[in-house]
């Protein structure tokens, strides 16, 4: 028996005891092939998945290394069956290769004939392949490069793409590092991406993904299409690029619902690309408007399904995906793998936080007790009404007031889902509301004022959730939220995890009604946050 920090479970999870002396080494050793699932305070859970193993394979690790790592860090004997399974899974990647053939163009090649035969007989790939060139090579219709990769992944034989990329139209882009410089992990992320060709960089919110994108553009030195979630985010990209690179505002175009500019660097929203009129996507031609040398996907985990289909046709262009999490609520992680590329860089939140770039957050759940009358109303309400009733409990208002008073002076956000409740709160707190109805201009003005410290308190609705930048929020109070999905929590917390001034601790409060469905959602949230390694406390409303 050796005294390793790692315990390999039979359900393919790895438990890493973090207080162990060799835990740091073990974490580094298993990070390339195992996905961090939970990182609570003592024992972190990693999971071995086929995608994770293929990601590792794509990064140049072989099964021998993986098995060796497990054996050398494992505390107990590792079940033989698991080792065999790892070797078999990893051996599946790269049996098939997409290559450029001097005569026939794109071909699917393999030196494992049975695998090729199996694949050729699969219905899923039937229409994508052309003539059989010789026993080990089949022509591929160039337009099917992405679809084929997707289909092969589903068949369990992910292909390695060696077919290369077009250079695209050259355009000089340099990072303007005056008075600031890339953080080491950002430089490393951009570097890993560039060597891998295409792929996804996983960094937590607030870790500076925009800069990784900018660094990737500086590597590519070519015209770039940036796809982002919404207009606000597009403007922020633009500001950031102007500030951090040699690009001028004239070189950067915005392609959204209101403006349609196509410039050497164009930032488009997912929404405009996926707009459909009479069954066609009128803005699809943007993808071919220029000879793009690089395509940047912001928030890959939110990438809508139609974009996947479009991306399938963009396989000859370099693609970088930026995200805080590879976990997709729709489970299409495999599509990200085959269409955008394998994971090229990953840093767990806690590590970046420990490096001091993100303020540690203090998560507190504040429980309010409903008065009997409200409890009765809740108990007799229709199930679909219950959540709203629980979320909008009157008692929450006074709690929020007390919390705001407690953190007087610190930039504070109040986040909620129900507009009535938000307006009511705004009135009580005398603070502006930002919701979906707020015009973009007004929204930006308020954000700017918040950023400059002019306004210390904002009440925001769900729209604030996605890809906005509120750099100086130190306190967030959540009064209601839809269904506590993991992704939403990551976003919410991301708002807070900006580097606080002088390393101040950020506070994240959720106010929940006791003994209601609201508390059940809070339990999910609590689990997610604890799994991410955040200290989580529960308080009674009366104790504030």
């Amino acid at each position: 028996m050796n005294d390793g920090p790692l315990i390999v479970q039979s359900d393919k999870t790895l438990l890493l005891e973090v207080d162990h002396a060799r835990a740091g080494d073990a974490r580094k050793a298993i990070a390339p092939f195992a996905e961090l699932e939970r990182s609570p305070e003592h024992v972190h859970t990693y999971r071995l998945t086929p995608l994770g193993l293929w990601n590792a394979r794509a990064a140049g690790h072989d099964a021998e290394q993986v098995v060796d790592t497990l054996l050398s860090y494992s505390r107990y004997a590792v079940p033989h069956a698991l080792l065999v399974d790892i070797a078999e899974t990893m051996a599946r990647y790269g049996r098939l290769r997409l290559e450029k053939h001097p005569v026939h163009g794109l071909v699917l090649a393999s030196n494992d004939r049975p695998v090729l035969e199996e694949v050729l007989r699969a219905k899923k790939v039937a229409g994508m392949l052309g003539d059989r060139l010789d026993q080990d090579t089949v022509a591929v219709h160039p337009s099917e490069r992405g679809n084929l990769k997707q289909a092969l992944l589903k068949l369990g034989w992910p292909a390695e793409d060696f077919a290369g990329y077009v250079d695209g139209e050259a355009h000089a882009i340099k990072l303007a590092e005056d008075g600031w410089s890339l953080r080491p992990y950002q430089a490393e992320a951009a570097e890993s991406f560039w060597h891998g060709g295409s792929g996804v960089v996983v960094l937590p919110c607030g870790a500076g993904k925009t800069l990784v994108g900018a660094a990737a553009m500086a590597h590519a030195q070519a015209t770039t299409l940036i796809l982002v979630t919404n207009t606000v985010s597009a403007r922020q990209w633009k500001d950031e690029l102007v500030k951090r690179t040699s690009l001028t505002a004239d070189e950067i175009g915005e392609y959204s619902g209101t403006t349609k500019e196509i410039r050497p660097v164009t930032i488009a929203t997912y929404q405009v690309l996926t707009t459909r009129r009479k069954g066609v996507y009128p803005h699809l031609e943007l993808l071919d408007a220029r000879d793009w040398g690089l395509i940047v996907y912001d928030e890959v985990h939110l990438l809508p399904a139609p974009i996947f289909r479009m991306t399938a046709d963009l396989q000859a262009r370099r693609r970088i995906g930026l995200t805080a999490t590879l976990v997709r609520e729709d489970g299409r992680e495999g599509d990200v793998f085959s269409l955008i590329g394998p994971k090229r860089y990953d840093a767990p939140w806690k590590d970046i936080e420990a490096q001091g770039y993100i303020a540690p957050a203090d998560c507190v759940e504040v429980r309010v007790t409903l008065p009997s009358a409200d409890r009765l109303a809740y108990a007799t309400a229709e199930p679909e009404e219950r959540y709203r009733l629980a979320s909008c409990a009157r008692e929450k208002v006074s709690v929020v007031e007390r919390l705001v008073a407690k953190h007087q002076g610190a930039p504070t956000l109040v986040i909620g889902q129900y507009l009535d409740q938000l307006h009511e709160l705004a009135e009580d707190l005398d603070a502006p509301v930002i919701s979906g109805e707020t015009p973009v201009k007004e929204r930006q003005r308020l954000f700017e004022a918040f950023r400059s410290g002019e306004i210390g308190l904002l009440v925001v609705s769900k729209v604030a959730n996605f890809s906005i930048d509120l750099p100086s929020a130190e306190v967030a109070i959540q009064v209601s939220g839809s269904y506590g999905s993991r992704q939403e929590e990551a976003q919410r917390l991301g708002r807070l995890l900006r580097p606080g001034r002088d390393g101040k601790v950020a506070h994240f409060y959720t106010v929940v009604s006791r003994d209601t469905v609201d508390a059940d959602f809070a339990a999910n949230r609590q689990r997610f946050l604890a799994e991410q390694g955040y200290a989580y406390r529960i308080m009674d409303a009366d104790d504030i």
Binding site: M1, I7, V8, Q9, S10, D11, T13, L15, E17, R38, P40, E41, H42, V43, T45, L71, S74, R75, Y76, A77, V78, P79, H80, A81, L83, D515, Q526, R527, A530, E531, A535, Y536, R537, I538
Partner: protein, 657 residues
């Protein structure tokens, strides 16, 4: 041999007891039922079925030597040594073995094979004995650290034990039904596989091994239908240390003739084999298993079977050792490899060091125990409401933790999750919030996270708001005083009365017992609801009887005793035959005539037989017997001067001519 014997029976008669015992041990079919004397023993040894069995146990060299002997007719040892192209030493050993097995004997004319052998094909038509017959082929090996093999094997061994426990534990609570054919339904097999996180062949192996170890058997479940239940022995097994438990499983597997690998495959008729059906046995699988493992055990330390070529080389060796064995052997070897790896007997192509002693019938528990994780007595509690036991927990702790939290992941460590449901379950079983707090604080090596404290308190807060109770009868009266009076009556002490409300009492005494007692106490109650009793009972985990099996030691002792008894009987028979006057050499029983005929065949002498023809007339004929087979004697009839067939049952007597 310079002198030689007149017949095989003569030779056997001359053998010392221990040599005769060896023969009976090597060819057990000769000993049951006990032969009357050496003549009968020799006759039986020459029957076709017995010869076939004996041949099955020969290796390639022995068969080659036998082949040479048969073609030579009568010969000498030296001639055989010259004819067989193998080294003289092993050839001589082979000859000795053939003599020991009574397949060859020394006649007056020289060494010769037992008569019946000439008509038997020694090997299957597609196997050739030609070519050099030197020792068994070497195994293809590659170097591998022995400690790594042990570690991987111990890992698998631990998993196997854990999974069998999990399997049977589940079946104790919810037993799967037994099919009419005696097997286990496909659906139950799939469910078990899903529960254990293994594939179906693996779970089929665990099920078969558990059954072979006597931990699983059919028995009536709650409803009286036949189901597969853990046996009483399972409880004893649970109480053992993991290494001892593994030994039980591994021994059962090695000694089991079940072919669990066929589960899920189709039989020749196209029907899918179910696990545990009685038909899934093979007479050869035990031998193949033992020989495969023995071959692996013989590898030097630090060497394992090579990844690609190791399997075929084992097959080649087994084909050499038992050339007559059936075609199914390649499959059986492959099964042995997979199954032994799953059970942790082998790993990475090598036999684990602790498993070697299994083959010699010794106890590997101690050697294995040193490799298994030490039981731990603490857990790590985390804020996401999980608890990690960083190793196998001590049994009592595991049981308690299993009550208050759900198991989320198993393996070397166990991950538990506290949920409102699990905490409530613990409270249902009588844990109080304080006890729960104390328990988690006690066993946790890390501070108890606040969310867990809240979870327990929250659950405790809503727990028991509504109370449900157990009563056999209730007593109701509008007059509160009447009830108070009754409560204070001296006889009330034995009635188990409790006051729920001023006008309601409940009793733990059943209505039919309570009623006369109340009447005796001077109350005149009216039975209000004849159906008012509530019966709550928790079903017990169910067990079947452990099938009786004889311990290994007893078996061998019994065998030895039987062999000794047979030897004695044979000797007595021989003495009797020797004491019989010469005139009565005429034998009158069919077995006796057979023995006499075989003796005559071996000795090549003429005999006079009394033969009853179709008309019932008995005639004496002088014949030269040639062979006996299938109830017919082939012999040269001197009178008719031709070779004829005689029905053995019509031969009434045999005497020397």
């Amino acid at each position: 041999m310079d002198r030689g014997y007149r017949s095989l029976a003569d030779q056997v008669r001359a053998w010392p007891d221990d040599r005769l015992s060896r023969l009976l041990v090597a060819r057990p079919d000769l000993a049951t039922p006990a032969p009357q004397d050496s003549a009968q023993l020799a006759a039986r040894a020459a029957t076709r079925s017995s010869l076939v069995r004996a041949l099955d146990g020969l290796d390639r060299l022995e068969l080659t030597v036998l082949d040479a002997l048969i073609s030579a007719g009568q010969t000498t040892d030296d001639q055989i040594l010259n004819n067989v192209s193998a080294d003289r030493h092993s050839t001589r050993a082979a000859l000795d073995r053939l003599r020991d097995l009574a397949l060859a004997w020394d006649s007056t004319g020289g060494l010769r094979a037992v008569t019946g052998l000439a008509d038997l094909p020694l090997v299957a038509p597609d196997v050739s004995l030609a070519g050099p017959a030197d020792g068994p082929p070497a195994l293809a090996t590659s170097p591998r650290d022995a400690t790594l093999v042990d570690r991987a094997g111990a890992g698998a061994a631990f998993e196997a034990v854990r999974r069998v426990e999990l399997l049977l534990d589940g079946w104790g609570a919810a037993p799967p039904g037994a099919l009419r054919s005696g097997g286990l339904g496909v659906r139950d097999l799939k469910a078990a596989a899903a529960r254990l996180h293994v594939d179906e062949p693996t779970v089929a192996l665990f099920i078969e091994v558990a059954a072979a170890a006597g931990l699983l058997a059919t028995g009536p479940d709650d409803d009286g239908t036949l189901g597969w239940l853990p046996t009483v022995a399972f409880d004893g097994w649970l109480a053992q240390m993991p290494a001892e438990r593994w030994t039980v499983l591994a021994r059962a597997w090695i000694g089991s003739n079940r072919t669990s690998a066929l589960v899920g495959h189709r039989d020749p008729a196209g029907k899918v084999w179910n696990a545990l059906v009685p038909e899934l046995v093979s007479p050869t699988v035990i031998e193949t298993r033992r020989m495969t493992l023995t071959a692996m055990a013989a590898l030097p330390t630090g060497e394992v079977l090579a990844a690609g070529t190791g399997g075929p080389s084992v097959l080649a060796r087994l084909e050499w050792l038992r050339p007559r064995r059936p075609k199914s052997r390649a499959a059986e070897i492959a099964w042995t490899f997979t199954e032994s790896a799953v059970l942790g007997i082998t790993a990475l192509g090598g036999l684990a060091s602790y498993a070697g002693s299994l083959l010699d019938g010794e106890d590997p528990s101690d050697a294995l125990a040193a490799l298994l994780p030490e039981p731990v007595d603490h857990i790590l509690l985390q804020a996401d409401l999980t608890a990690v036991a960083p190793g196998p927990l001590e049994a009592s702790l595991a049981r308690r933790l299993g009550v208050v939290a759900e198991v989320e992941s198993r393996g070397g460590a166990t991950v538990y999750r506290f949920t409102p449901a699990s905490v409530r379950r613990a409270m249902d079983l009588g844990w109080s919030a304080v006890e729960l707090h104390d328990f988690v604080a006690d066993v946790s090596r890390t501070p108890v996270p606040q969310p867990l404290t809240y979870l327990i308190d929250d659950t405790a807060r809503t727990f028991g708001v509504v109370r449900i109770g157990f009563a056999e009868a209730f007593l109701r009266a509008d007059d509160e005083h009447a009830l108070t009076e009754l409560l204070h009556h001296p006889a009330a002490a034995g009635m188990g009365l409790r006051r729920l409300a001023p006008t309601v009492l409940i009793s733990t005494t059943p209505l039919d017992v309570l009623l006369p007692q109340l009447r005796e106490a001077g109350v005149a109650p009216v039975v209000e609801a004849p159906d008012g009793s509530l019966h709550v009972a928790r079903p017990d985990a169910q067990r079947a009887r452990t099938p009786r099996r004889t311990p290994d030691g007893v078996g061998t002792a019994r065998d030895a005793a039987r062999v000794a008894a047979v030897v004695t009987a044979v000797r007595a028979g021989d003495q009797a035959a020797a004491a019989r006057p010469a005139a009565t050499t005429e034998t009158l029983t069919p077995i006796g005539s057979l023995a006499a005929l075989r003796e005559a065949i071996d000795a090549g002498v003429s005999v006079v037989i009394g033969y009853v023809d179709n008309h019932g007339t008995r005639t004496d004929r002088v014949i030269d017997p040639l062979s006996v087979d299938g109830g017919q004697l082939r012999a040269h009839d001197r009178r008719a001067d031709e070779v004829r067939l005689f029905a053995v049952h019509r031969i009434s007597s045999v005497r020397p001519a």
